[in-house]
């Protein structure tokens, strides 16, 4: 079974919650799909890491010994990435989308493509099983594709190592990497918080989840910071037939655990956050075929 933890809004406690679920599961494949800001490896310090290069795309470069500054490439670029600076044609690296059109239209074959090869896909073992995570190099695109590779690798390793459960710690937002994370999975847990932004982003995330017809559950984290908003979120979930499976109070042990390199169920197993999280784990376990 594949389960993803997502949040819409960042910073709701999604990764801490996912880390705790993984600690409760004991025998699991944990995959970090937040390739922009992977954090699970900080807590779990995976071992025997295998490293694979991920080519996220390409960038165009000009060979100035051939370029005549004719400007044809400028006319064709759909990303405003090529301009003339002091009479010289220049490519703005950060705007280049790697479509290769300039390379194809250049009458002098002065443009070639180089791979963006700084991103990595890692896999290894950790104290509760196996772990896969991706790290997208700053400014590189195609995070959705890297997430797909994280998922492919996860499925392959889960089969090889007899893990029945794959848990994905998803990226924030609702864009391409989130869609890659949730496409075709069994269940989504959305971790939200009782703030206007939390509810707004939950609604956007839920629209994305409904779009793919995936079974969703909601966890309200730090629910006691604003009881009125918590009630509003519960009503919204009820209206949409989405179960609220846990309410976690604000508790400094969550941050303390992180500082000490532990999940909060490891660090403070008797705290209310840990007890309520273990109930979610019970629900998942009993409903797993």
């Amino acid at each position: 079974m594949e389960i993803a933890v997502i949040s819409g809004k960042g910073g709701t406690g999604k990764s801490s919650f996912a880390a705790s679920l993984a600690s409760l599961a004991k025998n699991i494949l944990l995959a970090d799909c937040d390739v922009d800001a992977a954090n699970q490896y900080l807590l779990f310090q995976p071992q025997h890491t295998e490293e694979e290069v991920f080519v996220s795309g390409q960038k165009a470069v000009i060979d100035y010994s051939v370029c005549t500054n004719c400007g044809k490439c400028i006319d064709y670029c759909g990303f405003d990435a090529i301009t003339t600076v002091d009479g010289k044609v220049e490519i703005t690296k950060i705007s280049c989308d790697g479509c290769r059109l300039c390379e194809r239209v250049c009458p002098f074959k002065a443009i070639s493509m180089i791979d963006n090869d700084k991103s990595r896909l890692y896999s290894g073992t950790f104290r509760y099983g196996h772990m896969v995570y991706g790290r997208l190099a700053p400014g590189e695109e195609n995070s959705g594709r890297l997430v797909s590779l994280v998922r492919e690798k996860s499925k392959q390793m889960a089969v090889e190592n007899d893990h029945d459960l794959i848990l994905y710690d998803g990226p924030p937002g609702i864009g391409c990497p989130v869609i890659s994370t949730i496409t075709g999975i069994d269940k989504v847990i959305i971790v939200t918080e009782p703030t206007r932004s939390g509810l707004h982003d939950l609604q956007r995330a839920m629209d994305a989840v409904f779009h793919f017809r995936i079974f969703a559950m909601v966890v309200i984290n730090k629910y006691d910071l604003n009881h009125e908003m918590t009630t509003e979120i519960k009503q919204y979930c009820k209206l949409n037939n989405v179960p609220v499976v846990a309410m976690l109070p604000f508790d400094p042990v969550v941050t303390e655990a992180m500082v000490n390199g532990k999940s909060y169920v490891e660090w403070a197993p008797d705290s209310v956050v840990s007890i309520n999280t273990s109930r979610v784990w019970e629900i998942i376990k009993t409903r797993t075929p």
Binding site: G10, C99, S197
Partner: protein
């Protein structure tokens, strides 16, 4: 009086989500508004725009941002496969033996390579909506601009550029940046004069802060850091800032009162004069002479 320092573009960003970017950006906006300094705030977090929850105004303009996608006229198409070959995004599905050709619009980046590839004039273009830019005017010279992607759209970059272009450059412009260090963030930071990174003093916060700092250093962008929820976590973030000689612009302590105010969609600087003063001061530390 308006001078050049009142025309800077400031991006408020963070690697990690939920560190308080929107909190800082909206309170800074309010503090400038109270000081009668013309200001525009642009919500560049187009996947999850939240600024509108804190700042509202009159909707004065709204337009869709589109990109061109190809339409293949199958009665003319000779199934030569050149468009499929030219497409770097696998957005043209082609099975020559079955004479099947199909445009996968979700994968198309609108680069136009397929139009160039086709020798038979079988491809025409249509516009596909990526999202909407809305402009809200609060009063003369105080404006909020929001970019909002349509659900399921692959990239928010084009929308962000359009939202920022709408802001012009006749006032202070604040960008509430998208999280992370990939293209949406880079595009936003690229168009700013200064980047304020908001972090929290935790291991996750530090790890993501490092990525943002390295990215901005590569871009030669001047930057400073606001530590939010000070008091939780540990001192590693502070040590890192010292080591890298990055200015600590402001500290916001963790407090239930601030969290509650934010959760209701209210601005702390509108409720508490002390915070109004602190955000006004934050702006003063951002004027160019302090970082050039």
């Amino acid at each position: 009086m308006i001078n050049s320092t009142h025309k800077i573009k400031i991006a408020i960003a963070s690697g990690k989500g939920g560190t308080g970017k929107t909190f800082v950006a909206t309170n800074l906006f309010y503090a400038l508004q109270q000081a009668k300094i013309p200001v525009t705030i642009v919500d560049c977090d187009a996947e999850e725009p939240n600024v509108h929850l804190f700042i509202s105004g009159c909707l004065t303009k709204s337009f869709d941002v589109t990109q061109k996608v190809p339409v293949i006229n199958e009665s003319i198409c000779t199934h030569c496969g050149r468009c499929h070959k030219y497409c770097s995004y696998n957005a043209i599905f082609h099975v020559p033996t079955l004479q099947v050709i199909k445009v996968m619009e979700d994968l198309c980046h609108g680069c136009g390579a397929c139009f160039v590839a086709c020798n038979d004039s079988a491809i025409t273009e249509k516009q596909s909506v990526l999202g909407t830019v809305k402009r809200f005017d609060l009063a003369n010279q105080f404006t909020m601009i929001e970019g909002r992607t349509k659900i399921g759209v692959y990239s928010s970059v084009k929308l962000i550029k359009a939202a920022i272009a709408e802001a012009g450059s006749d006032s202070v412009v604040l960008f509430d940046s998208p999280p992370g260090t990939s293209c949406p963030f880079i595009q936003t930071a690229h168009l700013a004069d200064f980047v304020v990174l908001v972090t929290e003093p935790t291991p996750f916060g530090l790890s993501d802060l490092k990525q943002s700092v390295e990215t901005l250093a590569d871009m030669n962008k001047p930057m400073g850091v606001v530590v939010n929820r000070a008091g939780i976590g540990n001192s590693d973030v502070y040590n890192y800032l010292k080591e890298k000689k990055i200015p600590l612009l402001m500290e916001i302590p963790f407090s239930r009162e601030i969290a509650l105010t934010y959760s209701k969609g209210l601005l702390i600087s509108a409720m508490d004069e002390v915070w109004l003063g602190k955000f006004r001061q934050l702006f003063d530390t951002l004027t160019p002479h302090s970082w050039k």
